[in-house]
């Protein structure tokens, strides 16, 4: 077993604190539900996408932008067919929509774990194949990789929160837009085909010689009626 000179090993074992911290942060990111940002958007959007593609609330329903956006958020359509505009949409698309964040955190955690394990292995005279890591530029590469593994999850968490808020706002907005479209349908609804709409009833004709009540007469009449009601109730 070849034992390396200690300064060379120390280059790797010296990375243990930063690699350990990177490992802890990324494992926490992977393990905790609070960091599953896609789950805060996708099921909510799915709940609103109550129609299948075959079901039309009305002609052209599925071509409405809010409907397409809801479907995109629910991952019913791919980014080839529709992509919402804006930075938050791009961040969600490239950072979270296909679990890219989980892939990154998994890779970073693996790399940090490997760095820790290699440091220990080399210091106890194992893993001879890993000796190349003690030669420049690998210790430097590992250092910056571990540093990035520690820092980037913080940025991912901040971006994830913003994306989750953006997603909720977009779902609310799209739902309201769909409601407006449906409301217009209600406004324009017609009786079923073949049924003539009934003429609106004309106002009841006023008896000959009568005139509208003045405000004073109306209030006197209302007071009189209220008095009669009270009397009737008391009796």
């Amino acid at each position: 077993m070849a034992v390396l000179p200690s300064p060379a090993i120390e280059l790797i074992t010296g990375l243990e604190p930063i690699a350990g911290a990177g490992l802890a942060i990324n494992v926490a990111y992977l393990a905790l539900d609070r960091f599953r940002y896609r789950r805060r958007i996708e099921p909510v959007a799915e709940e609103k996408c109550v129609l299948n593609d075959e079901q039309d609330a009305f002609e052209g329903f599925h071509d409405l932008d809010p409907v397409k956006e809801l479907k995109w958020l629910a991952r019913r359509v791919s980014s080839k067919d529709y992509v919402p505009r804006g930075r938050a949409a791009a961040a969600y698309r490239y950072g979270f929509r296909k679990h890219q964040d989980i892939f990154f955190a998994g890779s970073a955690a693996s790399m940090c774990a490997f760095t820790v394990a290699t440091g220990v292995a080399l210091s106890v005279g194992r893993w001879e194949w890993a000796h190349f890591l003690t030669i420049s530029p690998f210790p430097g590469v590992l250092f910056y990789a571990c540093l990035a593994s520690m820092i980037i999850p913080v940025g991912v968490v901040l971006a994830g929160r913003r994306c989750a808020n953006w997603g909720r706002e977009r779902i609310e907005h799209c739902t309201n837009q769909v409601a407006i479209s449906l409301g217009n349908l209600a406004k324009q609804a017609q009786p079923p085909v073949g049924v003539e709409r009934r003429e609106p009833l004309p106002p009841a004709p006023r008896p000959a010689g009568s005139r509208p009540l003045t405000a004073e007469e109306a209030s006197r009449l209302a007071a009189e009626l209220a008095q009669r009601r009270r009397e009737h109730r008391d009796s």
């Binding site: 909510v44 709940e47 609103k48 109550v50 129609l51 079901q55 039309d56 609330a57 009305f58 739902t175 309201n176 769909v178 409601a179 407006i180 449906l182 409301g183 349908l185 209600a186 406004k187 324009q188 609804a189 017609q190 009786p191 079923p192 085909v193 073949g194 049924v195 003539e196 709409r197 009934r198 609106p200």
Partner: protein, 172 residues
């Protein structure tokens, strides 16, 4: 959105009466809106339905609100149905059995075949409208007079062409 948040949203809309359309995508949400329509109505409730989906119209909250609405003698509920294919033990039907201010009519086959939508209105300014009767997607609004007026006119048109049935016959 959970049911309680949705209920709060509907209550707020009913109180504000601003006429803003509210999306409705599930039977549970539909039941909340129907409850609120009964609560908001001061005199008339018109209901055009297939066969009174028990998940919506049989929900305990809806039945309770309907009972409260019907307890005023000057309130009136008219129900226009496509079919009579529901259970006699339907909670809302049972509730209405002894009420005088309820009228039920069944529309003719020709209208049923041509009818695409269902709706419910409360007085002259609140409604819930399902554009496709086979789906649960709907929109509701509180304080929208023009749309409610249109739906009420359609209701009256179909009502005139439909056959009224005694309420007691439905509960047997």
């Amino acid at each position: 959105m959970d049911l309680e948040s949705y209920r709060d949203k509907i209550r707020l809309a009913a109180r504000e009466r601003a006429g803003a359309p509210i999306y409705n995508g599930s039977p549970d949400h539909a039941a909340i809106i129907v409850e609120e329509l009964f609560l908001s109505a001061n005199s008339h409730v018109r209901l055009l339905s297939g066969d009174l989906n028990a998940r919506v119209y049989g929900a305990p909250g809806v039945v309770r609100r309907a009972r409260e609405f019907l307890s005023h003698s000057n309130h009136d509920l008219r129900i226009l149905l496509e079919r009579e294919t529901y259970s006699p033990s339907h909670p809302l039907i049972e509730e209405m059995a002894g009420q005088r201010n309820v009228k039920i009519a069944v529309m003719p086959q020709s209208i049923r075949d041509a009818l695409k939508y269902h709706f419910m209105t409360a007085d002259e300014d609140c409604f819930r409208f399902e554009p496709e009767k086979e789906l649960h997607v709907a929109v509701a609004a509180f304080g929208d007079r023009p749309t409610t007026g249109n739906l009420n006119e359609i209701f009256e048109t179909i009502w005139d062409l439909s056959e009224q049935r005694p309420v007691a016959a439905f509960a047997e």
